[in-house]
Each structure stands twice: as C-alpha cells, then as structure tokens.
Subunit: 113 residues, 2 copies
C-alpha cells in the first residue's frame, strides 16, 4: 500500500490537485499542477500551479498575497490526482469567497450555498 | 452570485468532478464528467463519469454495486469544476479503500494515511 511516489501526468503534462482546508476539510479549489509546480510546491511549502489560461507557473497568492501553506499531500490509488491539505492565508477564491465552491446546483440555476 | 448553470467543459469535453462524502466531507475520489455523464447523474441521482481509459460513459458501481448517491452538486467560480457530495454504497475506491486518497507523500515515498 506504500511504495514510490510516481505521479501520473496526463497527455498535457498535468495532474489534478484538489485543495482542501486542513482544518475544516472543505474543498477550497481545484487546479492543475505540472512537474515544475509540484517541485516548487514541495520545495517552498506554498502551493504552485500551472495556469492553463496563462500557460505558465503560478504561485497561488503571488499577486493577492493569499497564499496556501501546504500541510500534507495525499495521493490517490492511480497516482493521477492529489489532495493538498492547506492553511489558507486569506480567501482561496479570486472572488473573495473562502472557497471557490460557494454555489450549488438548484434545478438549472445556481444558488448560494 | 447566482445565475445560470453553464458548465465549462475543457478541450476534451470534460469537467473535473471531486467526490466528497456528504457526511464526513472527506474527498473520496476525482473523476471526469462529460455532458452525457452530467445529464445521467442529474436524472438518476447516481454518479456517472466519463472513463478516459475506457473512453465511454461509466456509472460508478455498475459492476461492483458500489454506487454513489448524489446529495448535492457544488459549482466553482469558473464553472469548470464540480463537487459532488455523495452517500457511498460501499467503498469508493476500486482497491476496497473507503477513499482513493489512502496514502500521503512522505519524502519521495508513499505512506498509509
């Protein structure tokens, strides 16, 4: 059940990262990491991602200051998805919400959670 | 903050779905949905995904019986990721573990959570 860490990146070189609050367990956001983002995250202890829209490495909070301090990284059965348990320094969502998942499906509309 | 549900599928027609236990909040697995999987999930109340390896629609538990009853669907700020809060009918992981995230990074190795 142990073994070596051999992350499986997809055809685009990305692995899915689910960011959860280390304290509450709430899902804060979902992002993608490439090998560089994963290495920088492990070195610095601050979450780095690959921005698909900007096509570059991105440290969460590099402009807002709302960094994510990584406490633990969980790896799934196939090693193609990660859970990063973090302590957020401010709201995780760029909208100012604590979590990016602040709405729920309600019929064909979105309602505040 | 409300508005219409307009899920953003990626270039491959997929949206990331994070599956959490409705009771404990634990992340159970990560999977991908296409439009068909999302429609079937909403119709049936049971989680359906798009299997990238099999290249087809897949109802979680279709062979194992370990289906996932969907209680609520959360939508993120960009509408390109979903959280499905579920009641699992059995272990969520094909290994028999309750969650696919049963290991954590420990240096360059994996350790049981």
């Amino acid at each position: 059940m142990g073994g070596a860490f051999l992350p499986k990146f997809d055809a685009n070189g990305h692995i899915t990262a689910v960011i959860t609050d280390a304290e509450s367990g709430a899902v804060l956001m979902v992002a993608f990491m490439d090998g560089e983002a994963l290495a920088r995250t492990r070195e610095s202890g601050l979450a780095h991602f690959h921005s698909r829209s900007r096509g570059r490495l991105w440290m969460k909070g590099e402009t807002s200051g709302h960094t994510l301090q990584v406490e633990e990284i969980l790896v799934d059965c196939d090693q193609d998805a990660l859970v990063l348990k973090v302590r957020p320094n401010g709201p995780a969502c760029h909208t100012g919400a604590q979590s990016c998942f602040y709405r729920k499906l309600d019929g064909d509309s979105l309602a505040q959670v």
